[in-house]
Amino acid sequence: MPIITQAKSAAVVIDDEKCIAEKGCRVCVDVCPLDILAIDERRQKAYMKYDECWYCMPCEVDCPTNAVKVNIPYLLR
């Protein structure tokens, strides 16, 4: 179906340089209670796939290489 995507800052940003998903790491995907993170199969890097973040933070805290940054919404900063 035709889908429109609206520009919005991503809540969860992954640093591709630090992300080790290509080695099989799935920590951030596994700890997310909202199931919003996924691995980009082509690049073998984690990314935020669904805009449903609740800002609970375990993905950022548990990442073994500190590759994950959760950005609190502008409205609340």
């Binding site: 179906m1 199931d35 796939k49």
Partner: protein, 236 residues
């Protein structure tokens, strides 16, 4: 977070799934825990304890119960219902349908509750239910949201029906009905229970309130009647 969370989701309102002390629902083997059952809103430690009690009891139930026979046809029908949104290439997204449902909860069900508005709401919910044939999911995550959206629609229907059944006002603003502004302890100092009747339709029953485990002084029972909430004039 969503627009209609306050006063709609069980646990955040004066509603929820009926459970006993072991978190058993009225269906043997089915449990309900957390703030949709007996844990107050935002009470995390209580939720952990409640989950532990329910888990232990459920494990004991499973150990003592052998798997029953089931109808393979029923299973296929349910599988098809669950997977239906994945069979469509075009239609409505789970987000669109959930947002409209919650928007109507806000517009038609939120207090002060007006009978005519809630009946309008029921008709609008029925229209959304007809649109479920267009609900579309592209991947497992969207299917999860599609199924959750259908449950939210059920909750909206239940909230409307239960609110219309209780023809009085109670709990301050929570259940303030413009056309029944008085608290009626003679008829409504009780729980109200929703259930499915023999034809599968929603039906109502009253259930007596058990004596309090911890006695509450009469002076402490009046808090809801001391709220300075204006009672709006009936609109109809």
């Amino acid at each position: 977070m969503h627009i209609s969370e306050i006063g709609f989701c069980s646990g955040h309102s004066a509603s929820g799934v009926w459970v006993d002390e072991q978190a058993r629902t009225t269906i043997p083997g089915l449990y309900a825990v957390g703030d949709m059952a007996s844990v107050p809103h935002n009470y995390m430690l209580g939720a952990f304890v409640n989950g532990g009690i329910a888990g232990a009891d459920a494990a004991a139930y499973c150990a003592a119960t052998s798997l029953p026979e089931y109808d393979a046809g029923d299973l296929l029908v349910e599988q098809e219902r669950v997977l239906a949104p994945t069979r469509r290439a075009d239609g409505l997204t789970p987000h669109e349908m959930e947002f409209k449902t919650r928007r109507f909860v806000n517009d038609y069900l939120e207090p002060p509750k007006v009978t005519a508005k809630m009946e309008l709401g029921q008709r609008r919910f029925a229209e959304i239910r007809e649109d479920l044939d267009h609900l579309c999911a592209r991947d497992p995550h969207e299917l999860l949201r599609a199924l959750e959206m259908q449950t939210i629609l059920d909750c909206a229907d239940m909230a409307a029906a239960a609110s219309l059944y209780r023809t009085e006002s109670r709990w301050g603003f929570y259940h303030l009905r413009t056309d029944h502004p008085e608290t009626d302890n003679r008829n409504w100092n009780c729980h109200t229970v929703l259930y499915k009747d023999a034809s599968g339709r929603m039906a109502h029953a009253k259930r007596a309130v058990d004596p309090f485990i911890v006695p509450v002084a009469a002076a402490e029972m009046g808090a809801y009647h001391q709220l300075r909430v204006k009672t709006p004039a009936a609109a109809e």
